[in-house]
């Protein structure tokens, strides 16, 4: 069992590790160790991590299969972009506010679409969300204030590496703590057995919609980051293929593994760039990799495994302790790990 002190230690450990990671990234970027182009790739890596982990919440933890994640992303993107372009506030105020509004707008759509759709299971939900994603795209295409097919231009370039980093950390933290709470267990129980969940007193409809809109919220945030990174938005960017791309990241990493989503979102974002040497064959290599992983590890790279810094360090520590033991000849402190 975890003691209070232990828990506090873990927070400290994770905070320090996060800061170190941030420091390392900034150092690499600022020192020019990697070229400017690759440095800017870190931003797509960041919002793709947010997209993948948020989709993992509904696909991996809730066990429902939505195919309209790009739809929620586009709602967040347009809402956030229109907001920051309309108001006249300092960037430090209007951007976070815009992201939040974009996320909330996406979450609201998640509730509206989720309430009827989540009464259905499996294939039906996939089809409904697929339809929803397309409807959103067509609506954006035909509205005036979204710029229609010409797209939205002149969105301020607010998205920087630190901003993306903070958003990624918040997303991962929030989804992690949600999953480790009574609400998260309720979500997991629905994936495991809906009838048993209901019989255990869990309102399955409520928690399905909750997880679904929670996942939409972060997709909206990612959309906002995306809009202020490209500074141009077009409805074509949010087609069905974008939803599939996010789903591929989640499935490849492992449904139900946060670690898996992070790693595979990073890899699949960078891979097409790293494969530039193969020129037109790169999409073949990319697809081939997916096929190979699915054949040899159908549950995804990480399955349902999740990484815990505290546990891993504990394990490494215990290995060292075991090695030391014969030298010391002591027989105490064996059971703490």
């Amino acid at each position: 069992m975890m003691t209070k002190k232990n828990v506090g230690g873990r927070y400290l450990l994770n905070t320090v590790a996060t800061c170190l990671l941030f420091g390392a990234i900034m150092l690499v970027v600022e020192s020019g160790l990697i070229n400017r182009y690759m440095a800017m790739m870190l931003i797509p890596v960041g919002y793709n991590i947010i997209l993948a982990t948020s989709l993992n919440l509904s696909a991996g933890f809730l066990g429902q299969l939505p195919l309209g994640h790009a739809g929620f992303m586009s709602i967040g993107a347009y809402t956030c972009a229109l907001f920051t372009m309309a108001v006249d506030m300092p960037a430090a105020v209007e951007f976070p506010l815009g992201l939040l509004i974009g996320g909330v707008a996406a979450a609201l759509c998640g509730v509206i679409i989720g309430l009827p759709a989540l009464r259905l299971r499996g294939d039906y939900l996939a089809i409904i969300t697929l339809g929803f994603g397309e409807i959103i795209r067509v609506i954006i295409l035909n509205l005036d204030f979204t710029g229609g097919a010409f797209g939205l231009k002149g969105i301020p370039k607010y998205t920087t590496i630190p901003v993306v980093f903070v958003c990624v950390v918040i997303t991962i933290f929030a989804i992690h703590t949600l999953i480790k709470s009574r609400h998260g267990r309720a979500i997991l129980s629905i994936r495991e057995d809906e009838i048993a969940a209901e019989a255990s007193g869990i309102s399955t409809t409520y928690y399905k919609v909750l997880a679904f809109s929670f996942s939409a919220f972060f997709a909206g945030i990612a959309g906002g980051l995306y809009a202020h990174y490209l500074s141009i938005l077009g409805p074509a960017n949010f087609g069905f293929m974008k939803s599939v791309e996010i789903l591929v990241m989640v499935v490849l990493g492992g449904l139900g593994s946060m670690m898996g989503s992070v790693v595979s979102a990073t890899a699949l974002t960078l891979l097409p760039e790293l494969l530039r040497g193969f020129s037109e064959y790169r999409m073949i290599v990319y697809s081939l990799l997916l096929v190979i992983v699915m054949i040899f590890k159908p549950s995804g790279l990480f399955g349902r495994y999740d990484f815990s810094l505290g546990d891993s360090l504990g394990k490494i520590g215990s290995i060292f302790r075991r090695k030391k033991k014969p030298e010391q000849g002591g027989e105490n402190d064996e059971s703490d790990s």
């Binding site: 929030a174 480790k180 495991e192 007193g201 869990i202």
Partner: protein, 258 residues
């Protein structure tokens, strides 16, 4: 006189043209153990599905501690005090044993989602309490040492006991056990009987159980209802039911030449 905890009157349900259950009446008092027996397809599990609102009754009413359960959703019925186990075990197989129990403790915890995400003090306090409660419950079934195992990896008998533990975690007034001894050997069945007595006294609950194992039914139930073709054909003490010719006929068929 005390009013019964569970009062079911004239309950019936039709599936298309088939009368799966008709005119089912039962009053269960606190701390009573009632057996529900009958040949396959007699409608026993249908009764459980009606009591937990999985099916909507065509006729009749169910009242739990004086409250009508009609129109409530399944989880609301569970919250108002009826818990069940399933004939074909339904555990959260990939989750740990303790998480299976803590899921059923869900409604006993009150912290909000914001408190959970921000990890405010109430989260820690209630999580700690519910872990302790869950371990105490598992201990009743001698399973506390298995708390962190995945539920699906347990042996069959332990899975059945975990299902009962999970049902108890919802803090029920009435516990419905659907064939709790199925697949158990005689010594496990004996152990289960002791456990059922024990939890009845410990949690002050009424228990209705469906079972084919007659040694268990006769040994533990204070009252037995016999169903056949959706109708109650006999009821009474184990002794009365055992000697009832109608029951013998339903189980063994009519003797030739009579």
């Amino acid at each position: 006189m005390m009013s019964p905890i569970l009062d079911v009157s004239h309950l019936g349900i039709d599936f298309g043209g088939l009368q799966a259950l008709d005119d089912f009446n039962i009053q269960v008092d606190a701390k009573e153990i009632v057996g529900l027996i009958g040949p396959n397809g007699a409608g026993k599990t249908t009764v459980f599905n009606l009591l937990t609102n999985v099916y909507k009754p065509s006729r009749g009413s169910i009242s739990l501690t004086g409250q009508d359960t009609r129109g409530k959703s399944i989880h609301a019925v569970t919250q108002s005090g009826i818990a069940r186990t399933f004939q074909n075990i339904r555990l959260f197989r990939d989750l740990s044993v303790i998480d299976n129990v803590k899921i059923a403790l869900h409604n006993g915890m009150k912290y909000t989602m914001a408190e959970a995400i921000l990890r405010l003090p109430r989260y820690w306090k209630q999580e700690k309490e519910s872990t302790a409660t869950a371990l105490k419950l598992l201990d009743v079934f001698n399973m506390a040492h298995l708390a962190n195992e995945p539920a699906g990896s347990l042996p069959y008998g332990s899975q059945r006991r975990l299902e009962i533990a999970r049902a108890l975690a919802t803090n029920p007034r009435v516990l419905l056990l659907d064939e709790p001894a199925a697949g158990m050997n005689p010594s496990e069945t004996q152990e289960l009987m002791d456990t059922i007595h024990h939890i009845r006294d410990m949690f002050d609950i009424a228990i209705i159980l469906i079972e084919h194992d007659m040694s268990l039914v006769m040994g533990i139930c204070e009252r037995i209802l016999v169903l056949n073709y959706g109708l109650i054909i006999a009821q009474g003490t184990p002794e009365e039911v055992r000697n009832n010719p109608v029951v013998i006929e339903a189980y063994l068929g009519q003797q030739r030449g009579e």
